[in-house]
Symmetry: C4
């Protein structure tokens, strides 16, 4: 698992999703209850397997010499809330972050979006001053979960959230899925940004088109890709 | 032909036209009535000649172990409608997709556009719910053809269309021409996007300038490039 | 000179100024009255010294097997009008073309601009239908010259023009200077584009700042760079 | 120190912060009172250790065959004003320059910004004609210092300024910190630019979120990164 997590972290700069050390990927071994995560503030160029840290679901370091990512409590909150998640990616990728900073959900303006996300990607509320002062990173995970509960959204079909004034958190059944969803999110965030510049306030795609494209790739009737 | 189609598919990421596996190229052998097309959901990095699928004009797989692109029925609809087409490219390239998602035709704002496309590149209407539910991909091809018929456009002189809320389909006499047209479409879509940010609602170029530039590259009097 | 012209042409894609074959560089040997120029429609990847064409100032091919760039008459018109020019670059670089297509001169919004161009870069008028139909490429050069004459501009201090609905032509004392000016033009066109998105209609920089920066790099009192 | 300064200068094009020769880095040896700085107008591709110039705090060349950067007096003014600074970076990076040319301070719209800069990055006033005519480069440093004094800002917590109509100057305790801050500034300038296109005039992030993120990385309670 540490190898998959290392590879996934190194995939972030390769896909143009991170600047400096701003981003992190984790993966979980559900049987052992252990999360492998990027070390805090270590450059991608020099990161090795030994830098990946293993923590338990309460955040205790179980293996590794490094301090884990400061965002570890956010990851753990999501792993505790969604027990089907296998991997989580956090980036400050340019266009997804622009929507998060604009405090706007990412509308579904095209089939590219619908292929990966079953509707608009929600933006969280701002944390309160009290939440920021106490367990800030854990509360960041909690407002993501809250956003899904309040809107009645299924995090399995909508594997991403924009944290207000911050940036995207993205997940998936496996670490590799989480990375793919993070790449997809940035691409559709860029598409939607540019569509808005051409036609401000354009409406979301028709619901039947959204359903069709999401169903081509997900669920029992999916027919995109090769048979497993 | 499979080699040309493989090379053309690999040219898409090299030209920055695709993210992940979002794009596909096909080519047709008119004599044999066979279409070579990209397999569905296979990464470009690992794609080989054996992955390219051969189908007939009704979509039956004739050769190859892979499932063909889910967009195959769209390609076939265009091959059936336009018998001079030798290759088709579909991408979600960033700026062309922005126009498609904005539901706006791509206006001809400069000579770069006129060199390749004889007027504005049309955007299709949205598919109806009934069309989406039945033969969605084939109907996607049909609304492209419909857009050309309704506007009285010549697909030979305007080898591209923007599918509403989706992205561009581009064609050409040969597979290589289709790829070149896809590259050109993305570049002029970006130029037009930026021109609109500087001067919203700017008008199309004068018709005589459009005619001049298109004629420099196409038809009996063309004088661009080297003699064949 | 052919080697310098080949190297300069190959520098265009290296600097991100061209897509496909859309761009060309020429250089002149004033003593012999010969212009070396890119062949028409030949890909940069495969261009060799043998592809560079030599023409005289009337456009007759003197050496080379290839057909010269279709834009050759525009280059020649500029060489005839400005006898101190040693090289000319024409591109469809993204941001400079956006201004040209928007029919707007490129305002001087910063010192980066002032370092290279002594004021706003003019946009030409549109050619008339008659001009387009007869000697189109030569007339394209003529409207550039006309724009400088009408505005009382010095092409030595302002080595670039935006041809309306087309793109930039850039020149310099040597071929290498012309390439550098084309790189600078694209960068300042991008800067000005983004500044306009943040503050529409912002005014040009104060004249004394323009004079200072231009004089740091040009003329008798220049003190930028190393002594020759 | 010359090696660190050479490496830092070469890092600028690697990070996409400079076009042509537009940018320079310096570092200071406080004990010896010597500043190492990039030579003026020398291409990054061919720059070697021998090209780096050593000057004293009055600008006299102490070692090196080259003429130092024309911006040297600006660097020296900052080194004299802020005695804890170890390195300074000046670039014309695209998005930071767009804000500088728009004469707008860079607002703090997200946690990415707050991680590096403790509030909005100020823009200086324009220099007067008299200041431009006499000791222009030194006065450029002086208006940066003035902007911090007038606003009561701490340059230690806000290690960057946008010079009006010009571009960013960025600093740090070490040369490497200054380069990292310059990379961060460009990224957050791009984020803020795009956020403004989506939601014009959006307000700065809540002060408690700004404090939290800045404190995660700076000061006694910092917990980002690895223990030194």
């Amino acid at each position: 698992m540490r190898e998959a997590v290392l590879a996934a972290n190194l995939a972030l700069p390769a896909h143009g999703l991170v600047t400096l050390t701003w981003g992190n990927v984790s993966g979980i071994d559900r049987e052992r209850g252990l999360v492998a995560i990027k070390p805090s503030g270590v450059p991608y160029e020099s990161m090795t397997l030994a830098d990946v840290v293993l923590v338990d679901l309460e955040g205790n370091v179980v293996e590794g010499e490094r301090r884990p990512s400061t965002d570890t409590p956010t990851h753990l909150e999501l792993y505790r809330a969604y027990d089907w998640i296998g991997g989580i990616v956090h980036t400050h990728s340019p266009f997804a972050t622009a929507w998060a900073q604009a405090l706007r959900e990412l509308p579904c303006l095209g089939t590219t979006h619908a292929d990966h996300f079953h509707g608009p990607v929600p933006v969280t509320r701002q944390l309160t001053a009290a939440e920021i002062e106490s367990d800030y990173e854990e509360r960041t995970g909690a407002v993501i979960v809250e956003a899904f509960v309040e809107r009645g959204l299924d995090p399995l079909e909508l594997p991403a959230a924009l944290v207000a004034s911050h940036g995207p958190f993205v997940w998936g059944a496996e670490v590799e899925d989480a990375v793919e969803n993070a790449v997809a999110l940035e691409a559709v965030a860029a598409n939607a940004y540019r569509s808005f510049q051409l036609a401000a306030g354009i409406e979301a795609i028709p619901p039947e088109l959204l359903e069709k494209h999401f169903a081509r790739k997900h669920g029992a009737g999916a027919y995109y890709g090769q048979p497993a």
